[in-house]
Subunit: 177 residues, 2 copies
Amino acid sequence: MDLFEAVKKRHSYRGVFTDKAVRREDLVKIVQAGLDAPSGCNKQTTRFVIVDEPELVAKIAQMHPANKAINQAKAFIACIIDKNPDTVYEGFEFEVEDCAAAVENMLLAITALGYGSVWIDGWLRGAGRNEAIGKLLAVPDEKIVRILLPIGVPAEAYKQPEKMPFEQRAWFNKYGQ
Amino acid sequence: MDLFEAVKKRHSYRGVFTDKAVRREDLVKIVQAGLDAPSGCNKQTTRFVIVDEPELVAKIAQMHPANKAINQAKAFIACIIDKNPDTVYEGFEFEVEDCAAAVENMLLAITALGYGSVWIDGWLRGAGRNEAIGKLLAVPDEKIVRILLPIGVPAEAYKQPEKMPFEQRAWFNKYGQ
């Protein structure tokens, strides 16, 4: 799929998934796109656990009965960073940005391959869910599941959210003009 | 360009740029890709100032004589977030992640359109450079230039940095196995 088409088509999918499995070769392609993302000083800090073992998928899925994309997911990608990231450039660390860039590459890949997903962050951080999922996936204590991507084949047409027009968010040479 | 080709070809470019200008219609396409990126609760927090006015470009370029991509840039995109972001979901705020996702979309667009760039973050935060650039671009006091993208047409072949192999950063179902 053309890059600009993938960028336009990508949107958060919170609907029902079909029963179709996510193919392992597609999961590898998706995560490879995440590995190819930039990272501060090329430190490549994000780690990934791809969850497609049915019992493990079910354990994570049942943690959120109200979110169809999570409770019907056919696979998950857990994106993992350090709880206390190393500083890599003049006292700054970039693991949150590294992870976000990897997630965006993966969401585009998910779109291009005909799957749907949604970027799960805030919910994960509540009620120790990221710790609980980390334990299920044998994530070391010093690391944390920062982002979770549920994946499946969308069964519903799902409306993209409205976006503000260009001129409300972008300008040439002077802010707001 | 195919999404996966753009993902593979994208890399930080720190070399010399040709004298060729960056076309305004390409700058609009690039920033539109940034606008199309996901954001926490669809709050669309990142703002963009596209710098292509030659005097303004020169003022920013001369701030970093040692970095060829900055001091020879033909245009810049300044990515702007709030200094004190609002919380948008259960006490969490996502402006850094929103901005990073937008930057990644734009880097892929820059690659697909035949330009080169590099994600500038840590350098900006030093010596008040983000404040100084913000003043040049009339960025409101409550906002900050978080990321700067210099853009031009690469004049040199530039080696992509080595990446760790898949099996050192990604696994199925259990971390590290």
